[in-house]
Symmetry: C6
Subunit: 78 residues, 6 copies
């Protein structure tokens, strides 16, 4: 079971200090911003956060904590 | 993995005694109030809480405990 | 991190034996009744419980256990 | 914190071998049957289970395991 | 509290290698197939799985892992 | 209870480095891609990920972390 050693959360840890895109479950919304901190539940602390609704830039949210269980996906911003 | 030492919850702890905005998952509602206490599940104890529906101020709720898993985001009130 | 010592659940414990209002996530329903017991998941044991739909008093439910994760908020009845 | 000693789950344990009504979150459905076993997550093992939709008796389900997190309330059948 | 010794998951363990019906929360879908393995979260490993939508047989899914928290009920196929 | 030794997650571990299909709860969406890593919550780290909406190929997502609780099913790509 050596494959389990590299956990998915390790990938998220590697994204700290860089820009990420967070897709919310069941909502046509995404958050884009800089990842400051993450924990084992995938709770995220972000800043410089902007909301995107249907891929249109929405509000600037600045500093925000997102509850992990409501996140569908986390990706590096490309 | 030193980056994981500063957990997202630390940011929420730093907001105790100040005003916060809590966005609820799947509902067009927010709660605004003073954060009294928080635990590791992001359960919140707030007072002086007011409800906002579609950014319109609604009911005054006073003292309220919010279950963490139903929270989408927590932000400092600016 | 001394602020974390007073947990949100302590507030709920303090409400045992008194009347509370429980708002359910995603439903226009509330339960109002006397809090008998609560655990760390915010599972609640209530009695003398009445259901409120859109702020209209509905069924009398009597004794009921409510699963914590489906609770949005818990408040003292004022 | 002596009040926390009598946990909500104790009430559910006391219902083993008797008839209960289980209300499902977000669905206009209830399950009525005999409680065989329960665990700390409120997962339930029931038999002689019948489904009720809008208070109309529906299918007989017989033996069923219900996942605790999708349960809204558990009550004794009166 | 002797009643708690026979846990609901024991019933599910007893169904390994036999045919089961799994009802999904909030979806008019069921999965029917052979249970290969189950864990304490009620995550299921099934094979020979077929999807049923509104009681009509749908796609053959073959081998599938189902996340426990999205399961409403598990029953033996009768 | 020997049957419980082969856990469902073992099946998912065996899929690391191969192509999988991930069905999302409550959304008509699937993710197809290569599984890089998985943990005990079924959080997934995938790459070469493509989105499918109603079985139509959608966006290329590349690298993505998917939160386990929002996953309905995981299957090997056949």
């Amino acid at each position: 079971m050596a494959v389990s050693i590299v956990l998915p959360i390790k990938k998220v840890f590697s994204l700290v200090d860089s820009k990420i895109v967070v897709e919310i479950k069941d909502e046509k919304r995404k958050f884009q911003g800089r990842l400051i901190a993450v924990d084992e539940y995938l709770n995220l602390h972000m800043d410089e956060t902007a909301e995107y609704v249907d891929n249109q830039r929405g509000r600037n949210l600045g500093t925000v904590i997102i509850r992990g269980n409501n996140i569908l996906t986390i990706s590096p911003l490309i």
